[in-house]
């Protein structure tokens, strides 16, 4: 292979991260809806309230605890016909706080999952003093545009298991608390 590109990692300072924790917003609820149900027409919001019995049933079906009593759900309709559900959910992990949207078909299948916002919570202390120096050294001539200043992360792979468990829980929630038609 060509080795000419192996110097691709330029030793330039990365700077001007306003908040030190890694945080990215990807989609609003509306954008996530459109991405998952491209053909759908209307989204009718429902603030679903779950009683204790329903939350126990969700736990029994999925093995996962429904922590909150309210869940943001949208009834998805196309040409007046009910075609699915869109649900927004949060997962809180050891290192991450993630808001995601999931589309479910009426027969309880996952149509799509989109991460709406992603936050890594453990990195809010920068222990690398040199990194702070880079912050100070930021100048107008630095090659990074503002919208690129949040760096990408390479590192120990974070598992998406929390989100997959969340989806499993929402499939149980659908059975317990959402009625088709």
């Amino acid at each position: 292979m060509s080795k000419s590109n192996l110097n691709g990692l330029w030793l330039l300072p990365v700077a001007a991260i306003v908040t030190p924790a890694y945080a990215q917003d990807y989609l609003t609820a509306e954008q996530a809806q459109k991405s998952i149900f491209s053909e759908a027409e209307t989204y009718q919001p429902i603030l679903l309230k779950l009683n204790e019995g329903q939350r126990d049933k969700i736990k029994a079906l999925s093995g996962l605890r429904q922590r909150w009593e309210e869940q943001k759900v949208w009834r998805v309709e196309k040409a007046g016909k009910h075609i699915g559900w869109f649900i927004v959910d949060d997962v809180v992990g050891k290192h991450e706080f993630i808001t995601y949207g999931v589309g479910l078909s009426l027969d309880g299948h996952v149509i799509g999952i989109e991460v709406m916002s992603y936050r890594e919570t453990k990195g809010d202390q920068i222990r690398d003093v040199n990194w702070r120096k880079h912050l100070v050294g930021k100048t107008l001539t630095d090659p990074f545009k503002l919208d690129e200043d949040v760096p990408n992360i390479s590192g120990a792979t974070l598992s998406c298991r929390n989100v997959m468990d969340g989806v499993k829980r929402l499939l149980a929630l659908q059975k317990v608390a959402l009625t088709n038609g």
Binding site: M1, L6, Y100, E114, G123, E148, D149, C160, R161
Partner: protein, 268 residues
């Protein structure tokens, strides 16, 4: 133009796809995710219906596989051979015994094997002994490469794909990159352009909840965080395992001989 980017849970981690410049970013991003899903469905060890499971469960019989699967098996076999087994795609049996990978019914078989156990002809593959192939150390990077190809085919001029730290950047774009260390802190690596980087963290004590494992039947990986640069993501992915297992005195030269480069955080 402003970058357009999205994230989905795939490949057991979070995959971010970004379009920096190019027509119809939404369509390109969808194409990139589709490409990743294809690779995931073919090469997952966990999935009972994947091409990989089909091969591992064939009991020594020849099976016909998707061209992507054949390609990755070729790359994995070549890297196993070239690295003297520091990267080893035949350790599936050992990982089943450790309870890290599932047994789909054929039993664990041999703990590990050799490259000559993998026979490939055209689209056909056969395992000559009862070994289990695992592509976990290379398929994630390969999926990133496929996603990049899909984006280029859709007219994206510059963009990136980051599959849980296996990151490839292409086109006229310098992407700032930081590395997450084992303690959760971040270190600056620099700006990445027309290149891939992958990182593997090895903990002194294995933690079952931690998704990344480096396993060798002959050597103990060195605890630490290992990042490797290469032109393509599959190679960077595979070489992080070599980096964690290599003799420290030879590590850097070995990685370069295998087509990569060790990336060291900016410590000045």
């Amino acid at each position: 133009m402003a970058s357009s980017k999205r994230m989905r849970p795939l490949l057991g981690t979070f995959v971010e796809v970004g379009v920096h410049s190019g027509e119809m970013p939404e369509r390109s991003i969808n194409a990139a995710f589709d490409a990743i899903e294809t690779v995931q469905s073919l090469m997952s060890f966990h999935d009972a219906d994947s091409d990989l499971t089909k091969l591992n469960q064939a009991g020594g019989k020849e099976v016909t596989l998707h061209p992507h699967s054949i390609r990755v098996l070729r790359l994995a076999r070549a890297m196993t051979s070239a690295s003297g087994g520091l990267f080893n795609c035949t350790v599936g049996g050992a990982l089943i015994r450790l309870g890290i990978l599932p047994d789909h019914g054929a039993g664990a078989g041999l703990s590990s094997g050799e490259t000559r156990d993998i026979e490939l002809h055209g689209r056909k593959a056969r395992l000559k002994r009862a070994v289990h192939i695992t592509l976990d150390g290379i398929a994630k990077g390969y999926a990133v490469d496929c996603a990049v190809r899909a984006m280029k085919a859709n007219g994206v001029k510059a963009g990136w794909v980051n599959a849980g730290g296996d990151l490839r950047v292409f086109g006229d774009l310098v992407l700032p990159v930081q590395r997450r260390e084992i303690d959760g802190s971040y270190r600056t690596l620099g700006g990445l352009q027309e290149a891939s980087i992958a990182t593997t963290s090895v903990r002194a004590v294995h933690d079952k909840t931690f998704p990344a494992w480096v396993f060798s039947d002959s050597r103990t990986p060195e605890a630490g965080t290992w990042s490797v640069l290469a032109r393509k993501a599959w190679r960077a992915d595979a070489l992080t395992k070599v980096a964690s297992l290599a003799n420290p005195a030879e590590r850097s030269a070995l990685i370069e001989r295998l087509g990569g480069k060790l990336a060291i955080p900016n410590m000045e």
